[in-house]
């Protein structure tokens, strides 16, 4: 077994920062009051939630009453899309999204199709980009919602959200963006971007798992997602996850404060890793856009090898990473994102995603570059596909 432990899967989740945990702890034990009650200990909880709401609102350029806490990023996506669809179905039943959304959006849209809605899944180019022109051309008189992710979780591609927001606003169509991967990595101001709804999830920016938020611009019509009590002004019933909400706000506050430094550090690690892989390993392809990509995201296809084998070998060397191979997912098809950017199946199977974060250092990249070329070569020596190439 390896003595090293290097975590390179920050797009999957991040560790909770000590300051965040510290901020959360009192809300489990001392201040356990139900925020909906009238007595003092309940009011304390209520106050903590409202402060968290103000923090989140300030950071994304919204008003506190436009922030709604949810149980996850997935829930925020589900609520935004189903909520807008059902609230506007008398106006129309057409939704525009992309073919590379997270399953939280894609499967929600597919569900709505089974409910009689029509969905346009915009194709992307080889870098995973959609253009504002594509969005504009897809708009119909009965279009009620546009949902386009801010940044992609697999290949890190960042979409032209401001331009798309402008078009949506001009046409008066509600615009949602899944910013789960972007939040904490990119400065986001919903007013400047003309975004009407935005999803986030705390565990992607060093906050706890199982808590998210949905920004809903004032005036946007949305059906309630959870029916029950009067929490979140009756739009998302259920006793609030007070420690989680406090943790989300604290994590976002820290992320916002350190953003420039964090961004610079991750970009350097990313660009160095990309350059070294391209230099040291033949038959590779960088997936995603070179510049318009999340600061910590590296995604490569290594020809002739399969991703799960690669991950297992890396794991034995103490490196945690992820892949878009079908073999890792238990399904038969490789990542829909990699197929959408035009990769043939075999190259999609051989993909590796490395996502850097706070704790990573240049030494981690040194170590990665020590072991990765060897592992790739070893698997290629074992591959009948490589044999064919070598014998050519």
């Amino acid at each position: 077994m390896s003595t090293r432990n290097i975590y390179l899967d920050h797009a999957a989740t991040t560790p909770v920062k000590p300051e965040v945990l510290e901020a959360m702890l009192p809300w489990f034990t001392e201040n356990y009051g139900n925020p909906s009650t009238v007595y003092s200990i309940g009011r304390t909880s209520k106050k903590a939630i409202e402060e968290a709401r103000e923090t989140v609102a300030r950071i994304i350029g919204a008003e506190p009453r436009e922030i709604f806490f949810t149980g996850s990023g997935t829930e925020a996506d589900n609520w935004a899309i189903k909520g807008a669809a059902y609230a506007n179905m008398k106006k129309g039943k057409h939704i525009i999204t992309t073919s590379i959304e997270h399953h939280a959006v894609l499967h929600t849209c597919q569900y709505l199709e089974s409910e009689g809605f029509e969905v346009t899944y915009l194709p992307v180019d080889e870098y995973g980009l959609v253009t504002p022109e594509q969005v504009e051309a897809a708009i119909r008189p009965d279009t009620i919602l546009i949902s386009i992710m801010f940044a992609n979780n697999e290949i890190g591609t960042i979409q032209p959200i401001a331009e798309i927001g402008k078009i949506a606003r001009e046409k008066g169509i509600c615009f949602h963006t899944d910013a789960v991967q972007a939040m904490g990595n990119i400065r986001i101001n919903v007013s400047e971007l003309n975004v009407d709804m935005l999803s986030m999830s705390a565990h992607k920016f060093y906050g706890p798992k199982g808590v998210g938020a949905l920004y809903i611009r004032k005036g946007v019509k949305l059906t309630s997602f959870m029916h029950g009590g009067a929490q979140e002004r009756g739009r998302r019933a259920s006793t609030e996850n007070v420690p989680g909400i406090v943790g989300l706000a604290k994590a976002l506050e820290l992320a916002d404060k350190n953003m420039d430094e964090y961004n610079k550090k991750l970009t350097a690690l990313r660009d160095r890793t990309i350059a070294e892989i391209e230099k040291k390993i033949p038959f590779v392809r960088l997936n995603g856009h070179r510049e318009k990509r999340l600061p910590g995201n590296v995604n490569f296809s290594f020809e002739f090898i399969e991703g799960e084998s690669l991950l297992l070998m890396l794991d034995l060397k103490g490196i945690a990473a992820s892949s878009g191979s079908a073999c890792t997912s238990g399904s038969l098809d490789p990542s829909h994102v990699l197929l959408a950017i035009g990769l043939p199946h075999e190259k999609a199977h051989g993909s590796l995603r490395l996502t850097f974060g706070e704790e990573n250092t240049d030494e981690d990249v040194d170590y990665l570059m020590e072991v990765l070329p060897e592992i790739v070569q070893r698997l290629r020596e074992m591959s009948p596909l490589y044999e064919e190439v070598r014998n050519r």
Partner: protein, 150 residues
């Protein structure tokens, strides 16, 4: 998902990786589209398999089952080798996670394909006859998985 220690051992230290230049039978099954290909080389003397080697493109289970399959066929007559099932390969590895059982089909099919190639070269079967290697594997799995979903 967890692999058994034996699977990990055969994945990390695969037995019989490589090619046999003067093989008597070579079989390749699978499809890069599905994410897995296995190629098996057999050396056969008097209908007894004296050596076996493989090359595999696939997941940890695919590599481990290839490795185990080559171990299992060595020393067997071709008739005995044809009776090796994917179940037997999986059992020899102390089991596979359910989602990985299909990878062991590949091993069974590769053995069959290599032996059929041997028989064809010997003129024992026709050029396109009697191939048991299932070329509809992906679709089979699709049906299989859909059944499980329900």
């Amino acid at each position: 998902m967890m692999y058994s220690e034996k699977v990990m051992d055969h994945f990390m230290n695969p037995r019989n990786v490589g090619e046999i230049a003067d093989a008597d039978g070579v079989g390749q099954v699978g499809n890069p589209k599905c994410g897995d290909i296995m190629k098996m080389y057999l050396k056969i003397e008097n209908d007894v398999i004296t050596d076996a080697k493989f090359k595999t493109f696939g997941c940890g289970a695919a590599v481990a089952t290839s490795s185990m399959a080559t171990e299992l066929v060595k020393g067997k007559t071709i008739d005995e080798a044809l009776k090796i099932t994917n179940q037997a390969v999986a059992e020899a590895l102390d089991g596979l996670p359910p989602v990985k059982m299909h990878c062991s089909n590949l091993a069974e099919e590769a053995i069959k394909a290599a032996i059929n190639d041997y028989k064809r070269r010997k003129g024992l079967i026709g050029d396109n006859g009697d191939c048991d290697a299932c070329c509809m594997r992906c679709e089979d799995i699709h049906h299989h998985m859909n059944d499980e979903d329900e």
